[in-house]
């Protein structure tokens, strides 16, 4: 009714904090290091007296929640950097970008973490980002070659259903079936926009026909992921638009194997989440250090069971148990980042006219 500024999880981020002991150890270590730094500073008196440098990272809401990667990432990075890492949460990916555009060059942010592939072109257009110097071998289904943004995790969009159901095996089959689905509005939600791109990437100019046939499957369209997933859990629909990794959450954190994701023949659209350094940052070295840290094992091993996405660089210890039970799409779909803005507009109009009939 009121209050439309709802935070929307950019992905299915969250989960139980498994690193709790690590967190307090690291916090202790951090205190010790700060003390040592302080002592060293006091000894050297006037020599190198500077305040502890602060790195400010804008990110989406679910990243910093108690169940998200935020607390563990902060502890792990601060253990080595002799700095303070501040997360500032600002809604979801789209809200992050809007906020940067509002703030312009005056932004406090050194790094923005949580944009995705469909926002990259718009983000670059702002001219606020600086090139990065990270060199890593990414475990992504595609080759990564962007000079401004570094990926930190990724996932596939998928329709999640109850395990007993004989789920359709393609978008086409779903459109022809009478399965009931809940989706998110592409105008207000990241997964909603993902589905728009998914249909476009798989069917191109035939996308309107798919939407026309999907119209009678759609129970309703929600503002964000939480509403849609809630509706699905309440039994309002047979399937909900989410991620292939959603069943991993239920399996690992809740030991509940009753949810599954449907594998579709056309392939699954990808979401790659990225971070970038701001040109106006007053801590450029620290920002570079964080981006390198982001693709290291310390950061990447936190991601799977807190953000419930695939790590961009699989850590040495591999993926957690339970991730091997997830469906592995045969084909990864992703539209070229530069083509997204124009296609997005076209796809939105097609979507609106198909579902407004």
């Amino acid at each position: 009714m009121r209050g439309p500024v709802e935070p929307e999880p950019v992905n299915t981020g969250g989960g139980k904090v498994l690193e709790f002991s690590t967190f307090s150890d690291a916090a202790l270590m951090e205190d010790t290091m700060k003390y040592l730094a302080f002592a060293a500073g006091a000894v050297c008196a006037s020599a190198v007296w500077a305040e502890t440098p602060e790195l400010t990272i804008y990110t989406y809401d679910s990243f910093v929640s108690d169940w998200g990667p935020g607390p563990a990432v902060k502890a792990a990075f601060e253990a080595d950097c002799a700095c303070t890492l501040n997360f500032v949460a600002a809604g979801d990916g789209a809200a992050l970008l809007a906020r940067l555009q509002l703030e312009g060059g005056r932004s406090q942010a050194d790094i923005v973490l949580g944009l995705d592939t469909s926002l990259i072109a718009a983000a670059k257009d702002t001219g606020l980002f600086a090139p990065h110097a990270v060199n890593a071998s990414f475990d992504l289904p595609i080759t990564w070659a962007d000079d401004s943004f570094v990926p930190y995790d990724w996932g596939y969009f998928a329709f999640v259903h109850n395990a007993g159901m004989a789920a359709p095996t393609s978008l086409r089959a779903l459109a022809d079936s009478d399965a009931k689905i809940v989706i998110q509005d592409p105008r207000s939600s990241t997964p909603g926009l993902g589905l728009l791109m998914w249909v476009k990437a798989a069917y191109g100019d035939a996308a309107p026909a798919i939407w026309a046939d999907l119209a009678d499957n759609i129970v309703t369209v929600t503002k964000g992921w939480s509403e849609a997933y809630g509706l699905f859990l309440e039994g309002e629909a047979d399937m909900v638009l989410s991620y292939t990794t959603s069943p991993a959450y239920h399996l690992i954190a809740e030991e509940d194997s009753s949810k599954a994701a449907a594998a579709f023949d056309e392939g699954h659209y990808m979401q790659i989440e990225v971070a970038g350094k701001l040109a106006a940052s007053d801590q450029p070295e620290l920002a570079d250090a964080f981006l390198s840290f982001m693709v290291s094992d310390a950061f990447q091993s936190i991601i799977p069971t807190t953000n419930w996405m695939y790590p961009a660089v699989v850590p040495a210890a591999g993926l957690p148990d339970g991730f091997d039970s997830l469906i592995a799409p045969q084909k990864a779909l992703l539209l070229d980042a530069d083509a997204v803005p124009a296609l997005r507009e076209e796809a939105l109009q097609e979507w609106l006219s198909a579902l407004s009939k």
């Binding site: 009714m1 009121r2 209050g3 439309p4 500024v5 709802e6 935070p7 999880p9 299915t12 981020g13 969250g14 989960g15 809401d61 679910s62 910093v64 929640s65 108690d66 169940w67 935020g70 997360f87 500032v88 949460a89 600002a90 809604g91 789209a94 809200a95 970008l97 809007a98 906020r99 509002l102 005056r106 406090q108 718009a122 009931k180 509005d185 592409p186 105008r187 207000s188 759609i218 129970v219 309703t220 369209v221 929600t222 503002k223 939480s226 509403e227 997933y229 809630g230 509706l231 309440e234 039994g235 309002e236 629909a237 959603s246 959450y249 954190a253 979507w351 609106l352 579902l355 407004s356």
Partner: protein, 517 residues
Amino acid sequence: MAERAVEISKRSGIAAAGFVAAVILAALLAVLARAEGAGLGPADWAALRFTVVQAAWSSALSVGCAIFLARALARRRFWGRRAMITLLGAPFILPVIVAVLGLLAVFGRAGWLNDLLGLVGRAPLSVYGLHGVVLAHVFFNLPLATRLFLQGWQAIPAERFRLAAQLDLPAPVVAKVLERPMLRQVAPGALALIFVICLTSFAVALTLGGGPRATTLELAIYQAFRFDFDLSRAALLSVLQITVAGAAAALALWIVPPLAFGTGKQDPGPRWDARGGVMLFQDSAVIALALAFLALPLTAVALPGLAGLMDLPVSVWRAALSSLGVAALSIAVMLGLALPMAGWIATRRTGLAEAVGLLGLAASPLMIGTGWFILINPWVNPMSVALPVTALVNALSALPFALRILIPAFQDALSNFGRLSAALGLGSLAIWRWVIVPRCRGAIGFAAGLTGALSVGDLGVIALFADPGRATLPLLMYRLMGAYQMQAAAGAALVLIILALGVFWICDRWGQANADA
């Protein structure tokens, strides 16, 4: 000219109204100043059409049903009546997502209603569509409208009903001479208020409307800010929304007739005109139906919440404290604005000033938040003023409710005691102290309670200004849902309902304390 018999300082009233208008216009101008080009498209006009249609239906039905419910409640005394009236305020303060899940548990595809229909072999009903949107809006607003009408009934002095009974007037005549004039006065304001609330609906309309057919102006504003980052379209849409709301308010307040019942006891005693089995049955049926309609979805929300209470994280309690702090501050700001404005309006019947009050509700919170973000950002870190800004915006959006509640009470008090006060030569302050506050305690308590409860349940602009360590309860609840913690989220929702009702109950109780004496 009983209303003019006494002068209370209009300066503070004008200052408060000016402040409200300035806060909102400054935000709008700030957004416009950053805007470049672009106008409105056909989709925006379609959104306008749908918005107005659903808001008109919603307000008409809410007010229509509320008249019957309030009449039944005004005529009957039964055990649990007070508790029912307080509890019925709950839908109004629920976070959208919780209310929608509660409604769908009852009316949805897999809801209780369809289970029941299945048992008797009927085809299931679909809740999604315009009727679903209206259903949800009636669920939200029926209790508010009912309270406004109840207040109207209470304003009819008990002596009038006693006189009617002595004259042995039949019920239809009592309705004609006492009740209908009161309804004619209360209804337009209630209609306008609910119309404006429904005008700014977004997530409810989209979810229960079943898809993009149910696109409202507020969704279009959201899209302009977030999806397109098109500030000029956002500002234009905000202006459109404010214009429609302003037109509705002006129209409604224009046709409110003046009314004075004269002095008397405020709480009507036994109602002789409502004796008889048929009327008792009628009233009982209305109360039972309303109770079922409002309480079933609330039960559907509360039940999973009880289970969730077990695994609530500590952060919920921290957030609950933040929410209470914001609520207290919002109440203070609201009173600071609403009391002088209501005093000003009550002495001169200027509908325009009340229309200014509606601005706070009609302007999209996203627009106000963004505008002030632009204004504040060059000077201070927006996060450091998150609390006051949130409290201010919450107070602004509660202001219209507060005015609608306070103004009739103020008018009543001044028309009854205005001449006496003038004869005694009471100054402005003395009138506040000896006439308005004691006579209008009930209305002030109700307005404060509503503001506090709304503020506890509101996401408002906090999301734009919030820092991660200081989330309010609704924000935390969304974070819990976003982290798959549906059960803990249900628990947090229950805490939220209890807190909001608690704040409401305390303020309302303070207001009623006088009535018992």
